[in-house]
């Protein structure tokens, strides 16, 4: 009994340390950027950065959930475009529509798209990467179809709709508030809710999860649907933020989302992933996007530097993880 408590405590310190590694890396990076350009740590710049990162954070939380089940969703970029386009077209034809309704419409579209993905993966038994790759093209095509490949521009959107991304409470922008609320809800859900814990069970050992009575298919469909819901929300926010809805909105953005998850320690093979680590991954990408233009190097160097920084972060993560695994093995021997 005593030893098991001990192991638990040890585990806890390991987990904190692992996230600390990424945190320290992020802080060092920020200090370097600040040294190169002193405007980095101004309130305005940080607010810009958080605002630009909030959509990524919302998407990454959902993606993490799906990746914990051992799946992946390549269609998020396309769902962002579809949900954004549907809500923008609605606003264009019904200008007096309240912004909240526009958000709900986008979330509804997202739920529908996510549910299709979930059913294909759970009931159709199609490998997630292929099911969502196919649906990515379907959703993208739908976006072009419903818009007639035309754009919805700023002057066709109501002020109420655009204010989703410009309003705020005090100094905090609405986008940031929504992202924080989403992250908190899912932090609670994944850590303290029974259904949330089932997601981890399904991802780390599907067979035993089924034997213990967890309805695996339901959990899978739910995960993809919840990701769809978050993606729909992100789609509306995206369109409101840039005040422009196009067919090619967020093309390839799923790669940023997956990168943020992997950087944040979410395993592609399922079963592992923490909201805390994920946030650090999201922030790392956000800081890079914000700070690289500030350090005033040529675009070619920007890409190069970004690649190197991401590689170093991943290497650091792997080495810390290996050490943690080694320690865990040692404990087992005793």
């Amino acid at each position: 009994m005593k030893s098991s408590v001990n192991i638990l405590e040890k585990n806890k310190t390991k987990k904190i340390f692992r996230e600390l590694g990424l945190l320290i890396f992020l802080i060092v990076l920020c200090v370097v950027f600040q040294a190169i350009n002193p405007t980095f740590f101004t309130w305005e710049n940080l607010a810009d950065m958080l605002r630009n990162t909030s959509i990524l954070a919302i998407l990454a939380v959902g993606m993490m959930m799906v990746m914990i089940t051992g799946g992946i969703d390549l269609s998020v970029g396309a769902i962002v475009a579809l949900a954004g386009m549907v809500s923008a077209l609605t606003v264009q034809y019904v200008p007096q529509l309240p912004a909240v309704v526009a958000i709900l419409i986008g979330m509804g579209v997202g739920i529908g798209c996510g549910a299709v993905n979930g059913v294909l993966v759970a009931k159709g038994r199609i490998i997630p990467i292929i099911a969502t790759l196919g649906m990515m093209n379907v959703f993208r095509g739908l976006t072009y179809l419903i818009s007639g490949s035309k754009w919805v521009s700023a002057h066709q959107m109501s002020d109420g709709f655009k204010s989703i991304a410009t309003s705020g409470i005090g100094p905090l922008n609405t986008l940031i508030i929504i992202a924080v609320v989403v992250v908190l809800i899912f932090y609670y859900f994944l850590n303290y809710n029974r259904t949330g814990r089932y997601i981890y069970a399904v991802g780390s050992n599907p067979e035993s999860a089924v034997i213990t009575g967890i309805k695996k298919d339901r959990i899978l469909i739910m995960s993809y649907t919840l990701l769809g819901l978050l993606t729909g929300l992100a789609g509306v926010l995206w369109v409101a933020k840039f005040a422009s809805a196009q067919g090619d909105t967020a093309t390839g953005y799923e790669m940023n989302v997956i990168a943020a998850c992997v950087l944040g320690g979410v395993s592609v093979s399922g079963g592992t992933g923490k909201v805390g680590g994920l946030l650090l991954g999201v922030l790392l990408l956000g800081v890079l996007q914000n700070a690289l233009p500030l350090i005033n190097v040529s675009t070619f160097w920007e890409d190069f530097i970004q690649g190197i920084i991401i590689l170093v972060a991943i290497l650091l993560n792997i080495s810390v993880k290996r050490r943690a695994d080694k320690n865990a093995l040692k404990r087992r021997e005793i």
Partner: protein, 368 residues
């Protein structure tokens, strides 16, 4: 176990095949959609449908735009089609799903197989299309570049929206006016590889060095937004952070100028930081109305496509050979003359771009 691996590998290959097929399907399905909506170009759908079927014969002129779903490109292709239709010939409108050279090469190969008379490209890369276009020219197909050009070896003629130096002189004057003659200004461009963007920036720097008038103006940075909304926004915000005294942003790209307009509007910087460049009237209407952007420019993509259409037909029927000094009639646009281009090839210049400001934006914002 090995069997499973084979099945998985096959599935992955199948998925990629599907993914590669999808763009073509999208292109075909979306053009009729847009034409039924606009009504004015209802014949477009039939043209597009015939583009898919393999037919050989003369009187077919193809245009390959950068990517699908771009309203600017739709207008340019529509102008091209109008010109070809006027002459009673057949237009083929194609574009890859993504703005890549690979997608365009694939389409060009298909067009060569179809045996078209001419191919007009709006290139995603100045050099990457050379092998495909050379092959087309060897097959007796006339090759023309329009809007975003290819190198002199891979084309017979370039239909230029405006000579780069002439154009930027024009642009520079606007930056000059907007900065009232002195101060810092920045350029927010598309990708660092886009053909026309770099030509303009080179021309601009040449002018700034040679002309005394601009000695008080300083070009602080050329930022690249990659024609992505989120990146253009980040780049604009970085410009504002790094250069607090910035007086003017020149964005010679439609995505960039709209993103910059949005940032300046959100930050209430209208009147403090001026914005000009090339923008789509529909996208910029909001920012011209609220005063963030006093005026901006764009050539009429309908006219540009129209001129390209007539150029293609004139080359095909032998009216012109693409040599300097050749003259031809381009429908309602009047007479054009082939001139030397700065890269060693020859080109036709459309003329100065159209200026959009608060007085005329209302009538244009619904056009394109």
């Amino acid at each position: 176990m090995k069997k499973w691996m084979t099945v998985v590998c096959l599935l992955i290959v199948a998925a990629f095949v599907f993914a590669a097929c999808a763009p073509a399907a999208e292109t075909a399905s979306q053009v009729p959609e847009s034409s039924t909506e606009s009504g004015e170009a209802s014949a477009e759908s039939s043209t597009e449908a015939s583009a898919g079927t393999e037919t050989t014969g003369s009187g077919k002129h193809a245009i390959v735009f950068k990517n699908t779903g771009n309203p600017y490109g739709e207008k340019e292709m529509e102008g091209f089609e109008n010109a070809v239709k006027e002459a009673g010939q057949e237009a083929i409108l194609r574009a890859p799903d993504q703005p890549t050279a690979e997608g365009q090469i694939q389409i060009i190969e298909e067009l060569i197989a179809q045996g078209v008379d001419s191919i007009t490209v709006v290139a995603n890369d100045p050099d990457a299309l050379q092998p495909a276009l050379t092959k087309a020219m060897q097959a007796g197909i006339k090759v023309i570049a329009v809007d975003s050009g290819v190198n002199a070896q891979s084309r017979e003629l370039f239909v230029n929206q405006a000579g780069s130096e002439l154009f930027f002189f024009f642009k520079q004057k606007t930056a000059y006016e907007m900065c009232s003659g002195s101060g810092e200004f920045a350029i927010l461009s598309a990708t660092s590889q886009a053909t026309n963007q770099n030509a303009w920036i080179e021309a601009l720097q040449k002018i700034m060095e040679s002309d005394e008038k601009y000695k008080d103006m300083e070009l602080v940075k050329v930022a690249y937004g990659d024609d992505l909304r989120d990146k253009s926004v980040s780049e604009t915000e970085a410009l504002l952070q790094s250069y607090p005294d910035l007086k003017c942003i020149v964005a010679p790209t439609t995505v960039g100028i709209a993103a910059a307009g949005k940032v300046l509007t959100d930050k209430n910087l209208g009147g403090k930081v001026a914005l000009t460049g090339l923008g789509l009237p529909s996208e910029m209407a909001e920012y011209i109305d609220n005063g963030v952007c006093e005026y901006m420019f764009l050539w009429n993509p309908l006219d540009l496509g129209y001129l390209a259409g007539y150029t293609a037909m004139a080359l095909t029927d032998g009216t012109i050979t693409g040599a300097t000094g050749d003259k031809f009639e381009a429908g309602t646009l009047g007479e054009y003359t082939v001139v030397d281009a700065s890269d060693g090839g020859t080109e036709i210049i459309l003329g100065p771009p159209f200026r959009f400001d608060s007085s005329n934006i209302a009538e244009w914002k619904d056009v394109y």
